[in-house]
Symmetry: none
Subunit: 224 residues, 2 copies
Amino acid sequence: MSSKKKILIADDEPDILEILQFNLAAEGFEVFTAKNGDEAIIKATSESPDLIILDIMMPGKNGIDVCKHLRAIPQFSNTLIIFLTAINNDLSEVKGLESGADDYLNKPIRPKVLLSKVNALFRRIVKTEEDVLQIGNLQIDREKYNVRLNNEDILLARKEFELLSLLASKPGKVFLRNEILHQVWGTDVIVGDRTIDVHIRKIRQKLNLDCITTVKGVGYKFEL
Amino acid sequence: MSSKKKILIADDEPDILEILQFNLAAEGFEVFTAKNGDEAIIKATSESPDLIILDIMMPGKNGIDVCKHLRAIPQFSNTLIIFLTAINNDLSEVKGLESGADDYLNKPIRPKVLLSKVNALFRRIVKTEEDVLQIGNLQIDREKYNVRLNNEDILLARKEFELLSLLASKPGKVFLRNEILHQVWGTDVIVGDRTIDVHIRKIRQKLNLDCITTVKGVGYKFEL
DNA sequence: ATTTGTCTTAACAATTTGATAATATTAATA
DNA sequence: TATTAATATTATCAAATTGTTAAGACAAAT
């Protein structure tokens, strides 16, 4: 999967903050916290989270204020916002959603419900992501499955693409031949010794660029 | 806003149905109703609603079943679904959201909360909704179901249209054959290996334009 | 009932790919 | 430098993948 989703949590109660952080981090999200509304705005601006969870009742700027403030900034017009509230009545819920939030969650927090909501919201948004490697003037787009060098498309066959994609994923790192076999061919496929070489050759030929270095007796590495 | 949003409500209690219908219609939505799960599926198919509100507890097919059934059909992969439930416990909520719903609502119904949730969901979706794709001199109108090239209408059969529409939704992106099968044919439909090819061929033939590229071993992509 | 058009499949052709073998080249080391 | 191990190069071939055409099942329209 691409990069980790960032989630910002703002609540003045340390316990709640901790519970949320623990559960979301365990699910693989990158979590940031804020102890009040103003801090939330600052961290939101600096971290550009994908989702912001706001407690409504906070000293100073409350959650609704923060939400309105953020929604007025283009950077956050598409950010997911969830309210956290103990006030379980019509009024606050309505106010929350009308101020531009995507959902709200009642306290006490039920971790499973929280995670489900978060995932449900992300499922809807996730679609607009990109997965491109950019190394110098070389661009490898894993989604579009193409390689561009100096704004010119280069057609690589599947194995060639996967091999280059692997090497370029960690420029400078030397990949052992075994490692390459496992990653590109799989653990149970057996191919001859020269197979990798031939593919490397084709890549070098097609790219016409000195970017794959042979490390004799060890493997190959990609560099600039 | 474009045209009226369509909402389908499925509940076995006539009272609830009426309350919901009244409130949503008053807000300007076009409302359809169903008295059970099977009717819901039928009406969903014929009306293509933008939002479906499903009672979880219904005789016969319950809401979760209906949701799963619908989500497996490409037509409904992006339709909003909200559950309606009196069961106020973790388990049912989690199950609901995991079966692909976007939100849930606890009974008793509080009209204002309902409307806020509905509006919050629509607000988020509206942005990704583009019924007319324009790529170069090619125009794909998903609502009218037609394709124009150089101001000339081109008649595509439904599967052809959906396939082209999918590929053109992300120009440059390579769609894996599997991905295409899921999106166009649905997750549980099984068709032979050559079916996609044949449809691709027909599109190429009818458009008479070099815009669909084969990426051998991977899939197809659309490009100007 | 007949026509029309859509969707799928089967059969075969055409193409591309990936692996190998054979040979050449390179780099390290005795 | 001669030797050797490792890699590079090239051509070739079988397998995998896709293209094409025609035909039949089915549904919708006439």
